[in-house]
Amino acid sequence: MRFQLIGVNHNTAPVEVRERLAIPESRLPEACKKLTEFPGIDEGMILSTCNRVEILANTKNGSGADLRAFLRNYFQLHDADLDKHLYEYREQDAVRHVFRVASSLDSMVVGEPQILGQVKEAYATARAVGAVRAQLDQLVTRAFAVAKRVRTETAVGSSSVSIASVAVDLAKKIFGNLAGKQVFLVGAGKMSELAARHLMAHGCASIFVANRTYERAVSLAYKFKGQAIHFEDLHKTCDRADIVITSTGAPHAIFRREHGELFLSRRKNRPMFFIDIAVPRDVDPAMNKLDGIFVYDIDDLQQAVASHVADRRKEAERAEAIVTVEVERFQARIQTLDVVPTIVSLQDHLETIRQAEIDRVRGRLGPMTPDQELAVEALTRGIVNKIMHTPISALKSAAREPEATTVIDLVRRLFNLQEKRAAKSGGSGESN
């Protein structure tokens, strides 16, 4: 087994380079096929997204393949300046990279969930054309399991990193399900509209809009399919809203503590969430002291975003630790699997010799009684087993060591098992 990976991503290559290497979905199956036909490559898979293009291959025993040459051939590129953008991993490092990519640890926004889906698609495509069969299949399915583990055991994908999504998160912390909640948009502005749109997308029912200029409110309400409110009626209607987003240019606070008290008594103390994006602030900070009213101004939101980013970084460290453990585990497993065919062919080989030798001497011995037949059988079998014992246990114990492949090659060469292995792996590939 020789895993090998080559690619570019958002860190190593600018978009001009990445777009030159991108392979559209329609041409991916054919590209996978070409990859497996390339000299030295047994199995292959191609991942092409807007942030990365990666070629993953399981190369034929021992040799390794020139993946750079494959890239140059496929894209008809001749210039050498591509090389400085490429990264290349082998063996354990390739395994680690695949795990990290699937777990979204190598993404531009660490923890973003799309990448796993993209890897799954790439895998399905390569599998459909038979480019992924045996060991690569194990690697990639293991990567899915690792990604799942990272997702459930760390919070790397859980926190949001924009003001609008932080606002939605906070609203969910207060109201749980946002379905049926009312939003009040006071004043207009890009950021407040974005927040409102996010809230609506998460199930908020309807929206009220108030603005100093009523026409503006009407047009905005039309855009959101909401209801325009005269600015003078703001305090009379505001208690109907669960979430209030304010972004007016007013020099003083529009919502003061006494308003909050009024709202609360009208709402029977049901909680209210004020998102204050305006500077100077529209909501008196004293409001936040009231039981059941939660006020977040722009600084609070930005701080939440910053702490989410920091949290992610911390969680990413834990995720890396998981990946490290998983890489070791995978490595150990794949090596154990790797000695099994050698052991089998060794047994086959010696059994063939034994049978041939018995047949050869049978003519000279003449007819034997069933007892003699049994004795010869037991004798030869015993000898073969004794001889095989040491190499087999050496293979088994080598399976856990890094030099497993060396031991395997040595045994193969000593017993001349070369052709059989090729036949064997071809056979198992077909049956898969």
């Binding site: 912390k173 207060i174 109201f175 399900n177 103390n269 039981d291 939440a304």
Partner: protein
């Protein structure tokens, strides 16, 4: 044997206790799952213990009296599990687990059970009394847990550190709903339980001794409970005020429970 199974259950609840302590400082999905499974197992053994207690005492009602703490602990766990099934949250466990552990611990180590001996006792009414009151207690305790969680969550939202400790608490309104529903559910149980109790007392002693601390305290508890339901229903009291009310009701319940140890009625001393 029944005490043995109870101690096994106690061991499993201990895992839950551990969860409650750890959950105060950090969250862990794994621990969450472990605690939940431990709680399931604990409940199974607990049920075995209770059932065996019934066979030992040869009578359901006697068994209930003899294992009152144990029964209460079991019912609290049951309510907690129902909450988990509906809201998918183990957060009340922070309070429920230590409480259940304490109750089970008391039950598993106590040597002297209450003595219940009164020949003419109307056992079916007593059965109803205990069953109803305990369900009421369990609901009340859950409601108390919810109001404490509400305060914690409100505080963390106000402090603008929503990612900090306990960030996996359920949403504020969900906690509120858990508390309110538990309250509404528990109140009729408590009321009917007290009525059943007064019937038992009437038939046993011929009159109801209002001077008895147990009865006084039970009435007080019921009154606090009533006020709590009322303020919540009419004025929508939440947060701090509701938590104060819930703590009062909880304290009243604890005192009323403790009155078992010095009330002449509930002693059930053999005559």
């Amino acid at each position: 044997m029944s005490i043995f199974w109870l101690r096994v259950a106690l061991g499993f609840y201990g895992v839950g206790l551990l969860y409650a302590l750890v959950a105060l400082t950090r969250t862990s999905e794994l621990l969450n799952r472990v605690a939940l499974h431990a709680a399931y197992l604990g409940m199974v053994f607990h049920l075995v213990s209770l059932t065996e207690g019934v066979f030992l005492a040869d009578h359901v009602t006697f068994a209930m009296v003899h294992n009152s703490e144990s029964l209460l602990a079991f019912l609290i766990m049951a309510v907690f599990m129902i909450t988990y099934l509906i809201y998918q949250t183990t957060s009340p466990g922070i309070i429920v687990f230590p409480l259940v552990f304490l109750l089970t611990f008391m039950a598993a180590t106590r040597q002297q059970p209450f003595l219940l001996m009164s020949p003419g006792l109307r056992t079916s009414w007593l059965f109803a009394h205990i069953g109803l009151i305990f369900t009421g207690y369990a609901a009340l305790i859950l409601s108390f847990c919810a109001s404490v969680l509400y305060l914690i969550q409100q505080h963390s939202l106000k402090a603008k550190r929503p990612n900090g400790i306990l960030s996996r608490l359920p949403a504020l309104e969900d906690i509120d709903q858990i508390g309110y529903r538990a309250l509404l559910l528990g109140f009729p149980f408590m009321t009917l339980g007290l009525i059943a109790g007064s019937v038992v007392a009437q038939s046993t002693y011929g009159r109801i001794d209002v001077q008895d601390p147990k009865i006084l305290l039970s009435l007080l508890m019921w009154a606090v409970y009533l006020v709590m339901v009322y303020t919540r229903w009419i004025a929508g009291w939440r947060g701090r005020k509701a938590a104060v009310m819930a703590s009062l009701a909880f304290a009243a319940a604890v005192v009323a429970w403790a009155a078992n140890y010095f009330s002449s009625i509930h002693r059930f001393v053999s005559s």
